[in-house]
């Protein structure tokens, strides 16, 4: 509650289309029906087009003496009783703008994230640290009420504004009783039942004590159990490999047996065995080199060829996942259509090595196949025909090891792995950085080609770095630069800087 003689002020920070305006209208209706003057202001217009915006509500009791309060048109820093943020980054914005102050403000925020464009377009991981936002909220507010109100809204089939309205009612900071809040929703007359459900859920979440900040588990959890066929390999991991790496290795063998077969997974462990020996001498308790190399090796060995894609797309678990994701109900019929664009290169990749090379080198064959692969295809996996097509491609797994793609990838993996092992003898940290460069080689088509070019560029830069005290740091910088833009500008600049 605000001090006597002061208005009760609520700022709502939301994004266009989230129902912030509805929330503000409920508040005004609530106030006016309970003997208050109320005012709301907002800035519509382009802010409605998904941009960040503020709705602002002030209220003051009507003493029936003919005197009307003078309300501010926008929040004043230090003069806001409740700040409601519909999302965590918007919560950060409210703090930055000074609306949240420790002497006065109750801060209600949803913990879910709606990622910004900057976060989404990053070529790797551009997400900001959500914990920092929460910590700032804790430091800035008199009282912080946090929960995933978006989830509450989704579970109740409503919108986040209703859940936040519930949180405000439960905060016990307004002059009104929860029943009065519900009455305002009823008077609103739109989606009353779902709104009330979300309101109740929001209120329930807000009443719960605030969960402590998430602390990352410091102890490596034990590796998960494996299936029957992988027991011998799991046993080998337990005996021959350090504990710190076991979790990753188990994930690795599972992935590779799923990708190809158990023998393929076994070969993976064979390859890593010398590195485990090397790790024993390194003295690094976390075995970072082994863990990083094992992780990247498993990823590289399970490169995404057409066979893999067809395999994953045809599985029952995948059909179930799609059904859940698109919220298809049991009485609805679901069709799944894939967007594929295998080019000449991918077709050649899937052929036995000799045939594949011949196709790529033979103009008339190229033209012929190229004509059929110029346009993308829509494969209807949910039909018998579409499914059979993908099922057939997936079955080529049996000849995978002889395909052109397999030969090329194995050659590349051999080279990379040899470099890691060799560098490890002289510079442990640099070896980890080299192992991590695999991160660049991902995606399909042009994306994959670009990743490989960047990878090669880094490997070419490696000899110049070796021997330098900051070699690992520099190589990581180059990796980051390679992920900074699609055109390789940052990478060229970083390479030049290092060379200078």
């Amino acid at each position: 509650m605000s001090a006597p003689g002061r208005s009760f002020n609520v700022a709502i920070l939301a994004m266009g289309g989230e129902g912030g305006g509805v929330l503000a209208d409920w508040l005004v209706d609530l106030a006016e029906h309970n003997g208050y003057f109320a005012q709301t202001t907002s800035v519509p217009g382009v802010a409605q087009r998904t941009g960040a915006t503020i709705y602002y509500v002030e209220m003051f009791p009507d003493a029936r003496d003919g005197r009307t309060p003078v309300f501010a048109l926008m929040p004043f820093p230090g003069d806001v009783d409740v700040v409601i943020a519909s999302e965590l980054m918007e919560a950060g914005r409210a703090i930055q703008r000074g609306f949240v102050t420790p002497d006065r403000t109750v801060f209600i925020t949803s913990t879910h994230r709606v990622f910004s464009m900057t976060e989404k377009i990053a070529m790797g991981d551009g997400r900001v640290d959500a914990d920092k936002l929460l910590e700032a909220g804790r430091a800035a507010a008199r009282k912080l009420i946090v929960a995933d109100f978006a989830d509450a809204a989704e579970r109740t089939g409503s919108v986040i504004s209703a859940a936040l309205f519930g949180a405000l009612a439960a905060s016990d900071e307004t002059p009104f009783l929860p029943e009065a809040f519900e009455a305002a929703i009823r008077r609103g007359g739109v989606g009353v039942n779902t709104s009330l459900a979300a309101f109740a859920e929001g209120a329930r979440l807000a009443a719960q004590p605030t969960a402590p900040s998430v602390v990352e588990a410091l102890i490596e959890p034990p590796p998960s159990a494996v299936g029957r066929l992988l027991q011998p390999l799991a046993e080998r991991i337990r005996c021959d490999f350090p504990a710190a790496a076991q979790r990753t290795l188990v994930a690795g063998i599972e992935r590779l047996a799923d990708y190809q077969d158990v023998a393929y997974a076994e070969a993976y462990l064979d390859r890593l065995a010398p590195l485990a020996a090397l790790e024993r001498d390194s003295g690094d308790a976390r075995c970072r080199l082994l863990v990083e190399t094992a992780r990247h090796l498993a990823l590289w060995l399970s490169y995404e060829d057409t066979i893999r894609v067809a395999d994953l797309k045809t599985r029952r678990s995948r059909f179930d996942r799609v059904r859940a994701e698109v919220r298809s109900k049991p009485d609805q019929v679901l069709g799944i259509h894939e967007f594929m664009h295998p080019r000449l290169e991918e077709i050649a990749d899937t052929l036995p090595e000799g045939l594949g090379r011949w196709l790529l080198a033979t103009p008339w064959a190229r033209n012929l196949v190229g004509r059929f692969s110029r346009e993308g295809r829509v494969v209807r996996t949910s039909t018998v025909r579409g499914f059979l097509l993908l099922y057939f491609v997936a079955s080529l797994r049996r000849i995978r090891r002889g395909t052109l793609r397999a030969r090329i990838e194995m050659q590349r993996i051999d080279g990379w792995f040899a470099t890691v092992t060799e560098v490890a003898r002289t510079d442990y940290e640099l070896a980890i950085a080299v192992a991590s460069c695999q991160r660049l080689v991902k995606g399909y088509g042009d994306t994959h080609a670009r990743g490989w070019r960047n990878f090669e560029s880094l490997m070419n830069a490696l000899p110049r770095l070796r021997g330098r005290a900051d070699a690992a740091i520099q190589l990581r910088r180059l990796t980051e630069a390679a992920l900074a833009d699609e055109h390789g500008n940052a990478l060229s600049a970083a390479r030049e800087e290092i060379a200078a």
Partner: protein
Amino acid sequence: MAERSFKKEVEKLRLAGGETFHGEGILAVTKALLQSGVSYVAGYQGAPISHLMDVLADANDILAELGIHFEHSASEATATATLAASVHYPLRGAVTFKSTVGTNVASDALANLASGGVRGGALIIVGEDYGEGSSIMQERSHAFAMKSQVWLLDPRPNLPSIVEAVEQGFQLSEATSTPVMLELRIRACHVHGRFVAKDNVRPAFTLKDAIEQPQRDVSRIVLPPASYLHEKEKIEKRWPAAVAFIRERRLNEFFAETADDFGIILQGGMYNNVIRALQLLGLSDIHGDTRVPLYVLNVTYPLVDDEIVRFCTGKRAVLMVEEGQPDFLEQNLHAILRRADVQTRVHGKDVLPMAGEYTGGVMLQGITKFIEKVAPHHLPESGVPAAAKPVPPEARLPAIRAMDTAVHPRPPSFCTGCPERPIFTAMKLVERELGPHHVSCDIGCHLFSILPPFNIGATTMGYGLGWAGAAALNTRETRRRTISFMGDGGFWHNGLTSGVGNAVFNKTDNVLIIVDNGYSAATGGQDVLSSKGLNPIRTTRNPIESAVRGVGVQWVRTITRTYSVSRMRDTLREALTTPAEGPKVIIAQSECMLNRQRREKPLMRKAVESGQRVVRERFGVDSDTCTGDHSCIRLSGCPSLSIKPNPDPLRTDPVATVLDSCVGCGLCGEVSHAAVLCPSFYRAEIVSNPTGWDRFRAKVRAAVIGFLQNRIDRRLAGLRP
């Protein structure tokens, strides 16, 4: 029809005298117009007064009952010229538009209107789009009032004051034969409040009377010698009449005039925030009972010298609270006091910033500085609130400083499923093949292309001026062409002549893309001439292609589905490379998704409920084949295409994901095909109320597919626990 419907709210316009009106500022303005007995209203939409136009459109029946004619003007110039009806006839009329962009367009008509003057009250309601949330260049309407000598009202931002300003505005206009501008800032337009209504008034003299008994008075027409006399008349008659009216009717207000030996002079629109700042400093209460003398300028042009001298006499210092620049009022104040030989010190832009919006924090700090200078003993002994002083960055809490980089700007952008996005995706793909081109942008949602992820566009010169903005870049010395943009709104506003006609006449060889989404979308989805929908009070369905061909363009391609990225790309490539000389126009058509959803969603829900077979489409991403490169996002930027943590224990980069807000526009699939991206996208077709045939087919498929999936499961059995 417009994005927001006021059908229910407009019923409040029928309130009779004595009843209390509760609602939004723009609705109150409309009610005030009806209470003032207007005969006609017109305007051009644009924030902050878009909704005023929408209210008027939704209130058309009520307006018709009162004999009021309402027009969606072709432009702000048209709107202002509409006020010509008040030149010879005792008709009250009002027009509205966004300022200063609209006022710029209206200037020609405004100057002519102001020169001859008016007989009936003429009110121009300008939505002052300044400061936070503004979408235009930062300028002031004040300058237009000064140059054309029309009077500028800036009422206190509460409903009773705004309503009164409308009524007084008409009276002032008639008393001085001068059009009057009423300035409303964005928050005032949308402020919720209450006032006591009066009865609506049907004008005594009607449009019919005017048409049937035409009049003319050559002394009101802007042509020498009358125009020379107009200038004299402005100075000798109209201005003094305005000053007298303002003074006699007490349009400006004094509060606690003699309470102290210092005071504040302020624009009416600043009143509420000034009071709040004073309240936080303990110098006023919530009801505006101030201990600091205030002189509130509800009329900011012209100033009333006598009132200023009266207020300043006996005061050591005054603060001029004037938002925006240049500081016209402060300079005027100096001149007035100098002429009257009053020695009061004038503060203003020395304690408040010269430029930018006077937000809460800025106002509080500025007024604190002023009080500290002139009467520090008036400040609370316990000290001023923390927010009254600027906080140096290093004094902030460490946890808050640590958060700074985690807050990204979140500018507006293309909506989910927006049909304009694929146009820019196609441009990105063409750019990969042909290299970058000079791109001239226009005003409209399509201008969001300048932001990530597209980063396309070099200049924007104003509404409808996209092609005009590339006019000079037209030379035979290169084969490379420039690309310009224009929306359907800008096209009909003036682009047809300023852009297309100009390009034909000057033999350009360049390319124009007209984004035809069926609405004036950025301003709130109002209809335009080429809108596809039927509008009961307007004529629509006039194709842009006919207009473009009509002014002489030979090379025209109309694409009726912008989501087809490959067609878009191929057409654009053709336009940029074809040997055909002359202007090339691509009309990219697809309905604004925001409006389409608003139209279709309820219909679809109803169809499902009534048991009809309905197919809903949406996209998805298989997270196990997505490798987290996000190329797809860089080519789309759709709000419903986002990222989520990678479920794969061996991977760290987040994967792409399609949120449930997806409307299944098809762009994701088209992009992954056209750009050869990745096979992770799928389109799900969800059939509600399937037919017997649907169910039979699904059963057969499930049997065959299930059999094969059992085989797959057998291979995988034993790998997982």
